[in-house]
């Protein structure tokens, strides 16, 4: 369908094969910028999620003890609630009169509200919050396979905390980290509700653009061209993750 076309102002699809939808994506700075912005947001989400999930997962596996089940459940809740409700909740937290700004102001830490909605910061917070579980779960299962006491063994051999992480924990959690990164990246790339609500229509991502075309402009062929680009990126990520897993297994 993405190779069909639809004349401006018409709702009739012209089924003659054409690449003009793709040409439009490539040629229009608006879409290229949207694509780059989406890639950057997904990448940043992945990096932040990894940074948060690594210590969290390690703590869950090694230190949480009998609270493990409870904490895992808490971590998973955003995932089972769907995208909408947690995002609406976040809007309450992040808004100019929201909990975060309110608290910071009443503590006298800031004079003017931080702008956390309607920009990339808000979207980033929302994406990390929504997809953290996708990073935590594979990491927890990878760290579960860490033999007992390897950290202690490394420390007794002279490794400081950072060296223990770099030489022991990170290499051994690589499979989980790769799987989690691929999942979070793909989820962030295709996520729609979070950028729409937290971006408040001011930040266009690839998914919101496709939505616009499909539901508002009603240019279905162009919307499917946008979707195809996204699919191609997903396939690329999948292949890369698979390659990275193989590489990690060998080294």
């Amino acid at each position: 369908m993405s190779i069909w076309s639809q004349p401006t102002g018409s709702l009739i699809v012209d089924p003659t094969p054409t690449i003009k939808n793709y040409a439009r994506i490539a040629g229009d700075g608006y879409y290229i910028r949207g694509l780059l912005r989406t890639l950057w947001l997904s990448l940043a989400t992945t990096a932040l999620a990894a940074l948060l999930a690594l210590p969290l997962s390690w703590w869950i596996v090694r230190r949480a003890g009998r609270f493990r089940g409870l904490i895992l459940t808490l971590v998973l809740i955003p995932m089972v609630c769907g995208a909408l409700l947690p995002t609406l909740g976040l809007m309450n937290l992040l808004g100019p009169l929201g909990v975060i700004n309110g608290t910071l102001k009443s503590l006298g830490l800031i004079d003017r509200s931080w702008k956390l909605l309607g920009n990339q910061t808000g979207i980033l917070i929302g994406l990390v919050h929504a997809f953290l579980p996708l990073m935590v779960l594979p990491l927890v299962s990878a760290l579960d396979r860490l033999p007992r006491d390897v950290e202690g063994a490394a420390m007794s051999l002279g490794a400081k905390r950072l060296q223990v992480w770099r030489r022991i924990i990170l290499p051994l959690s690589a499979p989980g980290l790769i799987a989690g990164s691929a999942l979070v990246f793909c989820a962030a790339l295709t996520s729609f509700v979070t950028p729409l609500l937290l971006g408040q229509g001011k930040v266009a991502t690839f998914a919101t653009m496709a939505y616009q075309q499909a539901s508002l402009v009603l240019d279905w062929p162009f919307a499917s061209a946008l979707a195809m680009v996204m699919l191609a990126i997903l396939a690329l990520i999948g292949t890369a993750a698979w390659g990275a897993q193989k590489w990690a297994a060998e080294t």
Binding site: P147, R148, D149, V150, G152, A153, A154, M155, S156, L157, G158, A159, K160, Q163, R167, I168, P171, L172
Partner: protein, 360 residues
Amino acid sequence: MVPPPMTSYLKIDAIGKSYGTTRVLHDVRLDVAPGDFTVLLGPSGCGKSTLLRIIAGLLDSDSGKLVLQGDDITALPAWDRDIGLVFQNYALFPHMTVAENVAFGLDMRNLPKAEIKARVAEALDAVRLGDLGDRKPAALSGGQQQRVAIARAIAIKPRLLLLDEPLSNLDAVLRASVRTELRDLHDRTGITTIMVTHDQAEALSIADRVVLMNEGRIVQNDTPEGIYREPASAFAASFLGSPPANLFPLPTASAAQTTGWTPPPAVAGHLGTDALLALRPEALKLTEEPTPHALPAHLKRIEFQGADRLAHVEALGHPLIVRLSDDQTLTRPDVWLTLPDTPRVFSKTTGALIAPATKG
């Protein structure tokens, strides 16, 4: 004669540790002499591993002090202690080869490549694994993995080598030979070693000093022979030996008389008091004819153990085990039990030694 002051290589000074409200170590004090092979022996859950982790610096004590070679190391982080540690489950790094595992501690010390290579080879040779350096730990047997763990710990030339139940994951045949090898390795390298075990036979056979622990306290610190022959508590008597000493509660004088038992003079005074006799199976003798001071007993069963035969008897309603001499035959169930002249007497309630009075 005043004994010379003991040179203490490692001084464990009133170390205490609690988990929540449970006290796991009660002011543990221990001096380890340089070059000694010390075994921490005690039942499971008595705090041996906890103490070992505190010495290694992997766990903080709540109170007390550790002094190694004159330096207070209590607050020193594990990575600065130069203490080699071998875990019960080996804790090898699965993503590294055997050689990389052994090299890890040397890498951390930023030694030159050539020296690392030489010391890895030396450590692997010491545990006779010279040709397995390129394997991953998963491709090794349990016994080999354990040698790697030992090689990794000794490669750093540690000031102290700690071993937590190193033999418990090996099968019985391997255990006996690795025991000998561990002792050989210690004698060759001269590294002051502390090993943890719950197996008394292992402790007696390998140690210079056996440090017996119970419920978070050190209850005796002695040579293997000393702790076996002169247990300081009923617990020590009943924990060491296979089978361990019989704990025989003394009857009242009248009960003894009714059974027709005239106890040896050293025992007679304790009749009817809060007293137990600790009787080693090999210190008892069974006869079919009465001897002076023998206790009438009933033979229930003879257990054949290869080199040994153990007679299960009952005297005054209490079960006892007697090691029989090679050539002895017993045909009748009614037998006489001869006790040693001066058996060790302990308090039934506290387990403390009552007689003979301790020397010095």
